[in-house]
């Protein structure tokens, strides 16, 4: 008896609040091909505890031998209701939840949410804060790409690089810790600017990192770019044609790997990205190898932006002085009654935003990170919708992986670069 026949005859029943639900292969009719019912193809469950699924992604594979006929992603294991929870908090308190979305791009999430609030409130951000935001989110991009590189290569069998990338990432996390007090859950950008000004040793730390990092990226490339085993595992694997990439709403390196020149930082410059010189690396083939090359080049470009931002970092206030949205400095609280009132109002009731709806997007390391914010005029967001790159990019994995081997699939998952916290929200 084949596996599928076994499942057909042995339906399991589970008790739920809605009564008994019967789980059988019959439910998969129409989702998998008919061959699965005769036993000609095999259904294989991959995940959600599989180490190469980068978290809790479950893939149901229909296999003919080792070839993937169908790949059905099943997500939601990390669904934490962040959107719903944000609706129950004031704008400033809901900011804490944003760190938990894509836990490799915390500052980018903070930035997107703050930009949405600033857009509705028409709040101006001082130039210094804008530059610091650019600088830190670019560092975040490098750190996210480092994790991607380490885990992606680990899946493909190179263990040592994983340790190297995590070593380099520590330098970035040290910078974040010096700024915000936290390595990962930074919560450093606030509506109107930053939580506090940069620490004294900030410039030195970033300078040290800028001296240290380029050689390390060269080291990674020396290990991988011309490595025949790596090329064998990645070239012409996971091809994404241009038309399909656009039609499936891919963004980020997954889209640029196919040669589409689209980057939110260039197309709709935000937070004074138009002050900086940087290039958008593009692929030509749209395979796993191209997406690898793009991310390596993006790290170098990010270092370029960081250097420019650090050299031209303007002096001045680090947050807006609009007291309706931004708390007054601690020093004013002892002398100004008005400051005390503002402080009290902001930390109890929170600020009120004008009624309206905006969509704001930024370029996260994984693609377009958008937030759709609906304000009803009160102190809490009426609706916060996150357009997360992992969620939108992951839906393509079904057709991207069709026709490849199971061993190629781990490379494809890695090359799309997902974070399940971002995907399931």
């Amino acid at each position: 008896m084949t596996l599928s026949n076994y499942q057909l005859t042995h339906a399991t029943e589970i008790e739920t609040d809605n009564g008994t639900v019967e789980i059988a292969l019959e439910q998969l009719r129409g989702i998998v091909s008919d061959d699965a019912f005769t036993g000609d193809t095999m259904l294989l469950n991959m995940g959600p505890q599989h180490p190469s699924t980068h978290g809790v992604l479950r893939l149901m594979l229909e296999l003919d031998g080792e070839e993937i006929i169908r790949c059905l992603p099943d997500i939601g294991f990390l669904h934490t209701g962040i959107e719903k929870n944000m609706e129950a908090k004031t704008y400033e308190k809901a900011l804490v939840m944003t760190d938990r979305l894509d836990y490799l791009n915390n500052l980018g999430n903070n930035l997107t949410y703050c930009m949405a609030i600033e857009k509705i409130a028409e709040l101006d951000v001082p130039l210094r804060a804008q530059y610091v935001r650019v600088l830190l989110t670019e560092l975040q991009r490098i750190s996210s790409h480092l994790i991607w590189l380490g885990t992606h290569i680990l899946d493909l069998g190179a263990t040592s690089l994983f340790l190297y990338t995590f070593r380099e990432r520590e330098y970035i996390l040290d910078i974040f810790e010096a700024c915000s007090g936290q390595r990962m859950m930074t919560n450093y950008f606030r509506p109107g600017g930053l939580w506090r000004d940069l620490p004294d040793n900030f410039e030195q730390m970033v300078h040290d990192f800028l001296d240290y990092m380029p050689g390390k990226i060269d080291d990674y490339e020396r290990i991988l770019t011309k490595n025949p085993i790596f090329i064998e595992r990645t070239k012409n694997i996971g091809l994404i044609p241009v038309e399909k990439a656009i039609n499936w709403n891919l963004t980020g390196p997954s889209l640029r790997g196919s040669g589409v020149n689209f980057d939110i930082r260039k197309a709709y410059p935000y937070s004074s990205y138009d002050h900086f010189n940087f290039d958008i690396p593009l692929g030509s083939n749209g395979d796993v190898y191209d997406r690898y090359l793009i991310r390596m080049e993006e790290m170098r470009q990010s270092l370029r932006i960081v250097k420019q931002a650090l050299d031209n970092l303007p002096d001045g206030p680090f947050r807006s002085d609009d007291r309706k949205y931004v708390p007054p400095p601690r020093s004013e609280l002892g002398t100004s009654m008005e400051a005390v009132i503002h402080h009290f109002k902001l930390w109890t009731e929170g600020f009120k935003l004008p009624k309206g709806e905006v969509y704001v997007s930024t370029e996260s390391p994984k693609g377009e990170l958008g937030v759709y914010l609906v304000s009803d005029g009160g102190t809490k967001p009426w609706r916060v919708h996150w357009r997360t790159p992992s969620f939108v990019n992951l839906q393509s994995i079904g057709w991207v992986s069709e026709g490849y081997m199971v061993s190629d699939l781990v490379g494809i998952i890695g090359s799309i670069d997902i974070v399940l916290g971002d995907c399931d929200r």
Partner: protein, 173 residues
């Protein structure tokens, strides 16, 4: 880059009855359209020369409960060729939140539509795989609706003391 307001007017010229309202807020243009013709308007947006919205940036649902009409679905469209963006919005009544699926036009609408069904109970007709996506398949209700409780423990005051006490696991303690 075409002016989004001009794009909205192009849509209004083509579908004078279907366009209910054009809203401009903070530089973003929203075209509120009638749900029956959404599919035609979406196809018009994608295929007309000069508009060519080939990328659906975002799909989100909103619950305006207790206001009426209760639900809205927003489609943020973008042209990667010209760079302009526009938002289509449809309002759906509480009794029958049904709308045509746009997966035939932008394949990437697939999962966002499933999410809107899962979280708000909005049905997308013609969707190739209309199942829940984030919640378990046997879940009851649609969690992001405004009348769906968040699940806090109710705080016990004097006015609701007995009611909360009765719900405790060991009321006699």
């Amino acid at each position: 880059m075409a002016d989004p307001l001009a794009v909205a007017n192009t849509i209004k010229e083509k579908f004078p009855e279907a366009v209910v309202e054009i809203i401009e807020f903070r530089g973003e243009v929203t075209v509120v359209v009638a749900p029956e013709v959404l599919l035609d308007i979406a196809r018009f947006c994608k295929e007309t020369e000069g508009l060519e919205f080939n990328h659906m940036a975002d799909l989100s649902a909103v619950d305006y409960w207790p206001d009426k009409p209760r639900f809205a679905v927003n489609y943020v469209l973008r042209s990667m060729i010209y760079g302009h963006m526009i938002r289509l919005k449809v309002y759906l009544p509480e009794a029958q939140p049904v709308i045509d699926s746009l997966t035939s036009i932008w394949a990437g609408a697939n999962w966002p539509e499933r999410e809107a069904w899962d979280m708000f109970g909005i049905k997308f007709e013609g969707h190739p795989n209309p199942r829940r996506i984030l919640m378990p398949f046997d879940w009851t209700g649609h969690p992001q609706r405004k009348d769906y409780p968040l699940g806090y423990e109710e705080v016990q005051f004097s006015f609701n003391y007995d009611r909360v006490q009765a719900k405790k696991p060991h009321p006699e303690d």
